[in-house]
């Protein structure tokens, strides 16, 4: 056979493959360390993870970490990506070799996927990972026998304990990858004639390539249109049922794997130390299981709500200081203004999210790595199903009560595309921490500080706002389940892996990588919008701006108090004359039915940057100075009187209307940016923004009209 004498191609890029939960990421992290980056595959939302392995001081090999899948079959985006890469449909072309990571304890399932890859003719090396676990299970693999049966080199490792990493590295350095002999005869599944026809149509050398092409016949954009049409015709003529050939292939492949493993595996009857079984007695218990899960959620919530605020305050302080330093260093002028007031706060507005993202992903990595995450799914699947969500949506949604940004990023773990999309779309309804300052001020205005039985009414109102957010999220999920048309393979077949000690290095790398991706990808959109908003709020028609400044009388006695009062008044007048002010006045007719005047209109526009900006804008508009305590702002707002009606502006109806508006409206450019990044396009962020805004408008309208 020719594959033995063939000279090996110089290794440029290697694909790392394996089924889920085999420790593939740990191997990847060991090989590449911080030499990783995340890119995009065209047309899908799957992240492309690339790392570089240093062979020598001047040679690096690119390692592509493919998503973990159980098979190559057109079902999820993950599987499409695996298919595309291993068939050379990606722009980098076919990988030179495949490093296949298998779970030694569950070799059968791992080999099911790996022998599919072997049949594609790419040189493969097999890593039998989790050797330590296998030993504990009394499983012993004769690697030489396995090598003889499969025809590819086999190394053993226990990547978590750093065992066997050298052997993996040597395999790559010395290019020991081998093309395997055909494992499964495709002719047993589909007619030889059809195989021949497909091979000559697409220029393939191997039978299995033809079989895979047939399985993916209905997937768009893989083949040139003319060839795709011919292939479809061929499939139709031969009466091929794709599901059926996959079932046949599964049967044949598993039978063959079983017969091989019978020769290679010996099982000792060890007294299994079933830690996993013991832990599950508690973790899956009807009381303790939920208690533990609730505790974990509470811990995560605490972390991103309150622990994260410490580094966030520092980041905030840093950027404020940086802005004023720049102002001192650079000559006064428009460019300095742009840098000091537009760009630097904009960058700060991106960096401020890093602590929350890093913390949430640290927790998620711990839960995922330890094997707990799929237990959480097991416990909550039934609860979430009526809302069109599955158990994996719980953690992102709860995290949304701190901040929607990390929450939406955390939906990556939801395998089902439809469930993931719905979770992304409804997560911003959860009451995030940016709504809190608005809620506190508005509730203080419209809800009396009295007791009802043992409850403080204001506290009760705040709790209702949180419940309202949850209700809106779940209601919208049900609604979207009806309207979103995505092929939904609504099943739950999830492995509950053995519990393992999480590896801190992997957790740390996840935290780093997620923060980096956020800053680089969503960050640019956030920065761009925040600069635009800054320009709108700081500039206006030149004559109007001058008039605004001149309209305030400079105090005759320039005491500190008088001067600060003067400055506040100027800031107020200027904001009124700015483009944002003009916009606010323009939209007044639209928001009037909700009980808002143009000042609130301006605040609605500026707070599109982030909800909490509402408070500082209102403070500026009423010349309070945005450093004041919320009590001061409240007092001032209470006194505000509508000039035409003589009634207070912030009456009960307007207050509740605003509360409802902020509970439902999108009002957060960072969320839009991150949804754009996670759905890889503008369609869904737009749909979401329109939906939320319409819901907010209508609800606020109803509330105002009912109460006024």
């Amino acid at each position: 056979m020719s594959y033995i004498t063939e000279t090996k191609k110089d290794l440029q890029q290697i694909a790392l493959v394996g089924v889920p939960n085999v420790g593939k990421s740990t191997v990847f992290n060991h090989l590449t360390g911080l030499n990783q980056k995340v890119g995009n595959y065209p047309g899908v939302t799957v992240d492309k993870k690339i790392g570089y392995f240093k062979v020598s001081s001047d040679k690096k090999i690119k390692i592509l970490d493919l998503p973990g899948t159980y098979s190559i079959f057109p079902r999820s985006e993950d599987e499409q990506v695996v298919f595309r890469v291993l068939n050379g449909f990606e722009k980098e072309g076919l990988p030179d070799a495949v490093l296949a990571v298998a779970d030694t304890v569950n070799l059968e399932r791992s080999l099911f996927f790996i022998t599919q890859i072997m049949d594609l003719g790419i040189p493969v090396a097999l890593v039998l990972n989790m050797e330590d676990l296998a030993e504990a299970h009394g499983i012993e693999v004769n690697t030489y026998q396995l090598y003889k049966q499969l025809g590819i080199p086999v190394v053993t490792s226990s990547a978590r304990n750093k065992k066997g990493i050298n052997a993996i590295e040597d395999t790559i350095r010395q290019n020991q990858f081998e093309k395997a002999p055909t494992f499964l005869q495709s002719g047993e599944i589909i007619p030889e004639k059809l195989i021949g026809d497909v091979k000559s149509l697409l220029g393939y050398e191997l039978d299995y390539q033809a079989l895979l092409a047939i399985k993916f016949v209905d997937e768009p954009n893989l083949l040139p249109q003319d060839k795709a049409d011919v292939l479809k015709e061929l499939v139709l003529e031969n009466g091929i049922d794709i599901q059926n050939i996959q079932i046949q292939e599964s049967n044949l492949r598993y039978k063959k794997i079983q017969s091989i493993l019978d020769k290679c595996i010996t099982r000792k009857d060890v007294r299994k130390i079933e830690i996993t079984r013991k832990l599950d007695q508690v973790f899956l218990h009807r009381v303790w299981g939920y208690a533990l899960f609730a505790t974990l959620l509470f811990l995560i919530f605490q972390a991103i709500f309150s622990w994260a605020s410490i580094p966030m305050d520092l980041i905030d302080l840093f950027f404020v200081e940086a802005g004023s330093k720049i102002r001192e260093l650079l000559p006064a002028g428009a460019l300095t203004d742009l840098v000091a007031e537009g760009l630097i706060p904009g960058i700060g507005g991106v960096a401020i999210f890093i602590p929350q993202i890093a913390l949430l992903f640290g927790f998620l990595a711990l839960l995922e790595d330890s094997g707990y995450m799929s237990r959480a799914v097991f416990l909550t699947d039934r609860i979430m199903r009526p809302f069109g969500l599955n158990g994996k949506s719980v953690v992102p949604l709860i995290s949304g009560m701190a901040c929607a940004i990390p929450a939406i990023m955390a939906t990556r773990n939801i395998g089902n595309r439809k469930d993931r999309l719905i979770t992304i779309l409804v997560a911003p309804f959860m009451s995030c921490s940016a709504r809190l300052p608005i809620y506190i001020i508005l509730i203080g205005l419209v809800v009396p500080d009295q007791r009802f039985w043992i409850f403080n009414l204001q506290g009760l109102a705040l709790m209702c706002m949180y419940l309202l957010g949850i209700a809106a999220a779940l209601f919208s999920a049900v609604l979207m389940k009806l309207f979103i048309k995505i092929k939904d393979n609504g099943y739950l077949v999830v492995e509950l892996p053995s519990y393992r000690m999480p590896r801190l290095k992997d957790v740390g790398l996840t935290m780093f990588e997620k923060s980096k991706t956020f800053v680089l990808e969503a960050g640019k959109v956030i920065l761009a919008i925040s600069v635009v908003l800054w320009v709108l709020a700081s500039y206006g028609p030149a004559d109007k701006m001058e008039q605004a400044e001149a309209s305030v009388v400079l105090p005759e006695n320039p005491t500190e108090e008088a001067m600060s009062d003067y400055e506040n008044k100027v800031a107020s007048k200027k904001l009124e004359a700015s483009y944002a002010g003009i916009l606010g006045k323009t939209i007044e007719p639209v928001i009037k039915p909700l009980g808002y005047d143009w000042k609130i209109g301006i605040a609605l526009i500026t707070s599109f940057a982030a909800r909490e900006v509402f408070v500082s804008t209102i403070a500026t508009l009423y010349s309070i100075g945005d450093e004041e305590e919320s009590a001061t702002i409240q007092d001032r707002l209470k006194k505000e009187v509508n000039s035409t009606t003589g009634q207070p502006v912030f009456n009960r109806a307007t207050g509740f209307s605003l509360l409802i508006f902020y509970a439902f409206a999108m009002q957060c450019m960072s969320t839009i940016a991150v949804v754009y990044r996670e759905t890889k396009g503008w369609k869904w962020p737009l749909v979401q923004t329109v939906y939320m805004t319409v819901l907010a408008y209508v609800s606020a309208l109803v509330v105002y009209q009912l109460l006024s």
Binding site: Y70, S71, F73, R75, V105, N106, E108, R109, F112, H137, I139, Q243, Q246, I247, S250, N251, Y254, T276, R277, D280, L284, H285, R286, G289, Y290, S374, V377, F378, L379, D381, R382, I383, N489, Y491, L492, V493, V494, E495, L496, P497
Partner: protein
């Protein structure tokens, strides 16, 4: 039940079963890929507190299925295995 077909969802915890067949359906492909092959031994380990999903021991791994999916897995006449 008048029907003589037994399916995996009918088991009680710790009951051992032998897989007979997988009913032809959309998820049959997925179940087969995960190793639900005729002839394999299946043990029901846990039922989620709300009665669904179910966790099974299959070979050396534990896999959770919804009831609906477990109904696709035909099993041999069940015997209660006293442990």
């Amino acid at each position: 039940m008048s029907n003589s077909r037994f399916t995996a969802d009918m088991a009680t915890p710790h009951q051992k079963m032998e897989i007979q067949d997988i009913q032809n359906s959309d998820i049959a492909v997925k179940l087969l890929e995960m190793g639900f092959m005729p002839g394999k031994t299946l043990t029901l380990l846990y039922i989620a507190p709300l009665g669904d999903p179910l966790a099974f021991q299959l070979g050396d791994s534990m896999i959770a299925l919804r009831k609906k999916e477990a109904q696709m897995v035909g099993v041999s006449h069940m015997k209660l295995v006293v442990q």
